[in-house]
């Protein structure tokens, strides 16, 4: 299974046509796939809170958005999640590279990894954790759930899911 294509196909099948990204090495393949897809407007953002602002505007303009980012960005975006996305009740699928988990080579990444789920739980953000490749089968249902309830929803994708980080 080409995981990058599967994720992109699920986004497109759920009518997601506006995707903002802040890169991560693990996400490079899916970002390239999205960038190449005709039915998705790919708009790289310089910081994840900026990206969430873009997504909020796109949704109010009638497009279904998504953001792709690293889990370190949870630390950047708490205010935006609380006072924009949640306060105005907007849907936002967040496909998140869950750095700092098993097979992580960079020690500093662990420092935000240990806070990631606690912060998402504190924000009452529905959170799904993809650890094995087969977990991606739930993505379609998660996207439908996100646009059903108009909430930000986190999909954490760890190194094991991506087939390792730096040791592939």
């Amino acid at each position: 299974m080409n995981i990058d294509k599967k994720i992109t196909d699920d986004l497109v099948a759920n009518d997601i046509s506006f995707v903002t990204t802040v890169p991560c090495k693990q996400l490079a393949g899916v970002i390239a796939e999205i960038d190449a897809h005709d039915s998705i407007y790919h708009i790289p953002s310089n910081k994840e809170d900026e990206g969430m602002g873009l997504c909020a505007g796109a949704w109010m303009g009638g497009k279904r958005p998504a953001i792709i980012m690293q889990n370190t960005a949870i630390g950047v975006t708490i205010n935006t999640l609380a006072t924009l996305i949640q306060y105005y009740r907007m849907p936002l699928p967040m496909l998140i590279s869950y750095r700092g988990e098993l097979r992580e080579p960079i020690a500093c990444q662990v420092e935000m990894a240990v806070h990631t789920k606690a912060l998402l739980a504190q924000l009452n953000i529905p959170t799904y954790h993809f650890h094995n490749q087969a977990d991606v089968e739930e993505l379609d249902a998660i996207l439908k759930y996100t646009f059903m309830c108009n909430k930000p929803v986190a999909i954490l994708t760890d190194a094991n899911f991506w087939g390792g980080y730096g040791d592939q």
Binding site: F18, Y41, G53, A56, G57, M60, P65, T80, L84
Partner: protein
Amino acid sequence: MIRSDVLKEIAPILREQLVVCNIGIPSQELHAIDDQPSNFYMLGTMGLASSIGLGLALSQPKPVIVIDGDGSVLTNLGTLPTIANNVADNYILLIVDNGSYGSTGDQPTYAGQKTSLTKMAEAAGCERVIECQAEDTGRVLQEALDAKQMTIIVCKCESGNAKMPPITMDPVVIRDRFMKTVMA
């Protein structure tokens, strides 16, 4: 002229357009001067008005006017390259540059000192950047709408705030009536 004088003058132009308005006193002033369902008031999240407006402009064809401030643009400076590289000709960013953080007590911003937001927007790659004095804002804004070209307006005005009440409207109501106007 202070910001509220500028907003009063351009209210007849704004009334006909989709407007995304910056957090704090700017939204309170616009709400008190001329509340419209076509106004999206930011109640929180300093800095993101220009980003919300860009996402909106890229996703539908109606003109979008963002009323931002120098302090808020400085908070989200990464927005300028994103705007420049994702051209939406229905997008107008009106930066009311009074050189101060108006909503927090008029502390000076760097835009009122050595930093030029006009030059920063140009350096970011924005192609139509117009700096004007407060008195000329209405004319420059109307010309930007007529030009149908992405425009960044840096409106230099005096620091100061009108005394207006907070917005008590529920955020979901603000968003819902705004979206209905977008779709209309």
